[in-house]
């Protein structure tokens, strides 16, 4: 059992089940990110852990103690809100000191703790200012400071960077990772931004329609998605999914027929009932190469080409595939709109999914050569 345990946790609003029996263990000091599309229940789950939402069924345990009926302050939890939720009439000092004022901490303790938080967050020179005088990043740091002074067992973050511009978001990501290392506290972080999830998390929890689609380390989710949902959600641009038909299963993997070509994808262990089965073949855009050769070749005519310098991204239509087929080539490549070109990819870079969208597990070690 971890520091935080969710046991068959359910949340219903009227007749609508938003969180559908979630089980999860979070270890002390872990940085866990809840990720998923809008409406998947990630924020609701976080608010249930916080104590802001009543838990309809199941148990929430912190250090082994059931906390379902405890108010937030008794759960040893602090939360940073998406909208910062700063008190606009109070100075930065008073905002950070607010939880300590509530618990009537002695003035010298209060000053010491606020100063320590301000030092960590580089807010020393802003303490007398009001939130309205601060930039978005500084406001977010004040909100984090208010959480830090409580010295909580668990920090909760509800999409804390979503109101910041892209550059500031990247800076704050690094700062939050640094803060996690510095404090060594357990952090649970909700975002819909997979870059935040991939860069900050020890483990990512992918949620879909109130269920956990997969839990794992970022690269585990990238290399070994357990289902089509995770395969499509993790990775940007998203994985291409091509229709395929099973031909045979053997010790080398599963041989499929895809776009009239045969290739053997190294999945294990061998399976029965593959012959003639409708499968989906997944290939990430960054695993596609220019030219012919390798295991599967495609002749494409890109309709849109994006030259980013670092990458060249192309979008083309492939028969039987929705939406468009995407490829990412390193650097600037001589690829143009409406001019046909040959691309190819290796069977070992491919992912296979059955008709229910569940992955056929890839053979151990295949990701090493991705």
């Amino acid at each position: 059992m971890g520091q935080l345990s969710l046991k068959r946790v359910v949340k219903t609003f009227g007749s609508i089940e938003v969180v559908k029996g979630v089980d999860l263990d979070v270890q002390e000091g872990e940085f866990v990110v809840f990720v998923g599309p809008s409406g998947c229940g990630k924020s609701t789950l976080l608010r249930m852990i916080a104590g802001l939402e009543h838990t309809s069924a199941g148990d929430i345990l912190i250090n082994g103690e059931r906390v379902n009926d405890l108010p937030p302050v008794k759960r040893g939890i602090a939360m940073v809100f998406q909208s910062y939720a700063l008190y606009p009439h109070m100075s930065v000092f008073e905002n950070i000191a607010f939880p300590l004022r509530v618990e009537k901490a002695p003035e010298d303790v209060l000053k010491r703790k606020v100063q320590a938080a301000a030092d960590i967050l580089h807010l020393e020179n802003r303490l007398q200012q009001k939130p309205g005088q601060l930039s978005g990043g500084q406001r977010q740091r004040v909100a984090i400071g208010r959480a830090i002074v409580r010295e909580p067992k668990i920090f909760l973050f509800d999409e804390p960077l979503s109101n910041l511009d892209a550059a500031l978001r990247a800076d704050m990501r690094i700062e939050l990772t640094r803060l996690h290392k510095q404090l060594g506290a357990t952090m649970i972080y909700v975002t819909h931004d997979q870059i935040e999830a991939m860069t900050m998390a020890d483990r990512i929890v992918v949620l879909n329609f109130g269920n956990i689609a997969q839990v794992g380390a970022p690269l585990e989710l990238y290399h070994r998605p357990e289902n089509l949902f995770v395969a499509g959600f993790i990775g940007n641009p998203r994985m291409n999914i091509l229709p395929a038909t099973g031909v045979k299963s053997g010790p080398e993997g599963v041989t499929v027929d895809c776009l009239g070509q045969r290739l053997t994808v190294p999945v294990a262990p061998p399976r029965t009932g593959i012959e003639g089965a409708a499968l989906s073949l997944g290939i990430r855009p960054e695993h596609i190469h220019l030219g012919d050769g390798r295991d599967l070749r495609l002749n494409l005519t890109p309709t849109v080409v994006e030259q980013l310098g670092q990458h060249t991204i192309g979008y083309a239509t492939v028969e039987g595939m929705e939406p468009t087929f995407c490829f990412v080539l390193p650097g600037s490549r001589p690829v143009h709109d409406d001019r046909p070109l040959d691309v190819n990819f290796r069977a070992r870079d491919c992912h296979l999914f059955d008709a229910d969208g569940q992955a056929l597990p890839r053979r151990p070690g295949v990701e090493d050569s991705d």
Partner: protein
């Protein structure tokens, strides 16, 4: 000119010059419509009584002076008392209304319970009653309570009539305060009352001041009918009734009546100007996003 301040350049981009002229002309016409009775009243207060009855009527004062502002005190002895009474009644009514309405509006803004819409609708319905319609039952009530011929006879019904609109106004304002501020305070262990006192009240203060001003003005305006109906003692009479003393048997001392009107509303104006300084917009700036 606000239109041409830097932050309003968008308006110039949005409207052509003739549209801006039309907007200003509209504002000027509205201001003239609103202010013309005051302007004429003020001019009348400066005119000698003889000029007021001369024919044809002249708009601008001839030999204008502020004499009426001095003589009015002699014509109606005890006029100061009327001003004091009005001020007292309005102030006490405003304080009582605020004490009741601020927590009520917060409750209506933040808590959901069954039948809340019905209660709020009821308040709205009550505020649609004209005070005059209820005068007879109110008179019986005041008599039963033994409040006739006291200040309370003018304060209590006034408070009852002022509460509904004040609740609606303040509730709307408080609903705009982000709920996350309550949640953040709750996360930090603050009680509902602590949150209300330390977080919500300071942020809601511009709304509370607006309600205080409208209540004060409302209390000033409604004194006339309650004073005439529930009070017959001169020492408790408020200003609107006191002004009747300038209506003599043979003539109305118009210049002194106008002067007395302006003197009478001065304390209210001073209070409103004082409170207006606290009507700072954007107090929630920086709270969220």
């Amino acid at each position: 000119m606000a239109l041409f301040r830097k932050e309003n350049t968008a308006m110039i981009d949005r409207y052509s010059w003739w549209e801006i002229v039309a907007i200003y002309a509209g504002i000027a016409a509205f201001l003239f419509f609103m202010l013309s009775p005051f302007i004429e009243g003020f001019l009348v207060s400066l005119k000698p009584l003889a000029q007021l009855f001369s024919s044809p009527y002249t708009f601008w004062p001839e030999n204008g002076s502020f004499d009426a502002y001095f003589t009015m005190w002699d014509s109606v002895p005890g006029f100061g008392r009327y001003i004091f009474n009005s001020f007292l009644i309005s102030t006490v009514a405003t304080v009582i209304v605020l004490l009741l309405v601020v927590p009520a509006a917060y409750a209506f803004a933040r808590f959901n319970y069954q039948g809340m819409g019905l209660v709020l609708g009821g308040f709205l319905a009550i505020s649609m009653f004209s005070g005059a319609v209820l005068l007879i039952p109110l008179f019986r009530l005041m008599r039963t309570l033994g409040l006739l011929n006291t200040y309370f006879a003018m304060i209590v019904p006034g408070v009852a009539f002022l509460i509904p609109s004040a609740i609606w106004l303040l509730r709307t304002y408080m609903k705009r305060i982000p709920l996350e501020l309550n949640e953040a305070a709750y996360m930090d262990g603050a009680s509902q009352f602590y949150t209300f006192r330390r977080v919500i009240l300071p942020i809601a203060s511009p709304g509370i001041i607006v309600v205080a001003i409208t209540t004060f003005i409302g209390a000033y305006a409604q004194q006339f009918v309650f004073a005439l109906s529930f009070n017959s003692k001169t020492e408790y009479m408020p200003l609107p009734v006191g002004l009747f003393a300038y209506f003599g048997r043979q003539e109305v001392i118009w210049n002194e009546l106008m002067a007395a009107s302006f003197v009478g509303i001065t304390p209210a104006l001073i209070i409103i100007f004082f409170l207006q300084r606290y009507l700072v917009g954007g107090l929630t700036a920086g709270a969220v996003k």
